[in-house]
């Protein structure tokens, strides 16, 4: 990292299909409990999907819920829960020095599809098109809804980064803290993707939509019989601060951001490029001042597509040679692909390993694909590890965006 300013995580709020708090989420990951439902997708019938069941009225009035978006609601819930987790006294925080940086895969599809459906009931007469459409579909919507709900007057925007967005939100926040643009950041990733049929249809017609008679087994990265992505909603938002600020207020420091990299394949819109992925991981390690052997958990991006999983394994095999202390897992096997929230949620689910000493598994592997047989892959059962001090969190996305984020246990050299 070029800057010497150290950035730490001091709060986490999340909603995942199998948990509305980090302890609940972590408990289900260690217990091997997936939660995927079957939902009715407009025009497409029933498909497996990860659905969140957090209490939206905990932090929002019903009118806010009516006028806002689903992803705005997810964002507000996660940000408010992260604030509670951080121990910050909100009344004494200078709101003009707080930033909100949220990664998104896409935004606006849900509302646009809903309005097209709405006016289809009126002969496609656009005078029935809602005046709420523009504030709901501007790309900063989820971050903006957080600022309005919490009275934050510092900067807010979203970072569009396909499925690398969760990491990208955290990286953006760390950079803004290092630059001194803000003193406190709410950052991570969010998604409402299950409410748009377009993403289901797009993946289906690409031959990449996961299916299984038991929906909880539909998302099966690294399994020989995997057949595609399970689309999910969710969010994970972190409170980030400069280390000295966190120390000054006596904050509980959950982990430290150690290094990162975002790069581009520049090759194909959908097919990943393992060479660039490996470069991304290596550069993140270099910036963190770490060797591959220093990473104890690799949280993989693998989405259960036929080729994508193999490509990531190729990249990891190249970087992590002779690393007996490195464990590899995957969270999408439990909760599907939470799109913009994926990277942020997958990191969150692994962070408690610094304290509890366990590595959660990758589930739904009935027959391991030999091409995905990485040493250190934790299959179906959680394992205890002698040393868990650093996590590499991979998130990759369409148009060839790669992100690697390294987080380490606080206080470890």
């Amino acid at each position: 990292m070029s800057s010497k300013t150290r950035i730490v995580i001091t709060g986490i709020g999340l909603t995942a299909p199998n948990g509305n708090s980090l302890p609940e989420f972590r408990g289900n990951l260690l217990a091997g409990k997936a939660r995927i439902a079957e939902i009715d997708v407009r025009h497409m019938g029933r498909h497996p999907a990860g659905v969140c069941d957090f209490d939206a009225t905990k932090w929002q009035k019903r009118k806010e819920l009516r006028n806002g978006t689903r992803v705005g609601s997810i964002s507000i819930y996660c940000a408010r829960e992260a604030l509670g987790d951080s121990g910050l006294v909100w009344e004494s925080v200078d709101k003009s020095r707080v930033g909100v940086y949220l990664g998104i895969t896409e935004h606006g599809n849900v509302e646009t599809e809903n309005e097209i459906h709405n006016i289809s009931q009126f002969g496609f007469d656009t005078k029935y098109w809602t005046h709420h459409h523009n504030p709901r579909t501007v790309a900063n919507n989820p971050a903006g809804e957080v600022t309005m709900n919490m009275g934050i007057t510092g900067p807010h925007y979203t970072i569009g980064a396909a499925c690398a967005a969760g990491n990208a939100g955290l990286i953006q926040a760390a950079q803004m803290l290092q630059l001194g643009e803000v003193d406190l950041a709410f950052a991570g990733g969010v998604s409402e993707s299950i409410h748009t049929f377009g993403i289901f249809a797009g993946f289906k017609n690409q031959g990449a939509l996961g299916a299984h008679e038991d929906p909880t087994k539909a998302s099966r990265p690294f399994d020989k019989n995997r057949n595609g992505i399970v689309i999910s909603e969710g969010g994970a938002i972190y409170v980030l601060e400069r280390l000295e600020d966190a120390q000054k207020r006596g904050a509980r420091i959950i982990a430290e951001i150690a290094g990162w990299c975002i790069n581009s394949d520049a090759t194909d819109a959908v097919l990943p490029n393992p060479e660039r992925q490996a470069e991304c991981v290596r550069l993140a390690l270099k910036r963190a001042g770490m060797r591959p052997q220093d990473i104890h958990i690799v949280s993989t991006h693998a989405t259960a597509t036929a080729l994508g999983d193999i490509q990531e394994c190729t990249a990891l095999r190249e970087v992590f040679t002779d690393c007996p202390g490195t464990y590899i897992n995957n969270t999408k096997s439990f909760i599907g692909h939470c799109m913009g929230a994926a990277g942020a949620l997958e990191l969150a689910g692994n962070l408690p390993s610094f304290e509890d000493g366990w590595v959660h598994p990758t589930i739904n592997i009935d027959e391991l694909d030999p091409e995905c047989a990485l040493p250190g892959l934790v299959i179906n059962q959680a394992v205890q590890a002698p040393r868990l001090e650093a996590i590499l969190n991979n998130s990759f996305g369409m148009l060839g965006i790669n992100s690697a984020l390294i987080v380490k246990k606080y206080g470890v050299a």
Partner: protein, 86 residues
């Protein structure tokens, strides 16, 4: 439809678009904005719901007529009558 019915129509719409509001003591003669937490987007919602649910059009120049329940009833009464006679 009577003018009292029309007031209830408007109140039902407000109940949908402002679900946190207590509508039990809304006074007909007082501006809705002075009694309830309603903004310009909410009034556009009222216009949209009148259009969708009742086929009533309120041109922009007449939005001011929706200020109170009484003025709504006065303004909308002939429009509902015209609808009813079709």
């Amino acid at each position: 439809m009577t003018k009292e019915d029309i007031k209830q129509v408007v109140l039902d719409i407000i109940a949908d678009i402002a679900p946190d509001e207590d509508l039990s003591a809304v006074k007909s003669e007082i501006r809705l904005r002075d009694q309830l937490s309603l903004d310009s987007m909410d009034f556009l919602d009222i216009v949209m719901e009148l259009r969708k649910k009742h086929g009533i059009e309120v041109p922009e120049a007449d939005y001011v007529q929706l200020a109170s329940l009484d003025s709504c009833a006065e303004y909308l009464f002939p429009k509902f009558q015209a609808k009813g006679s079709k």
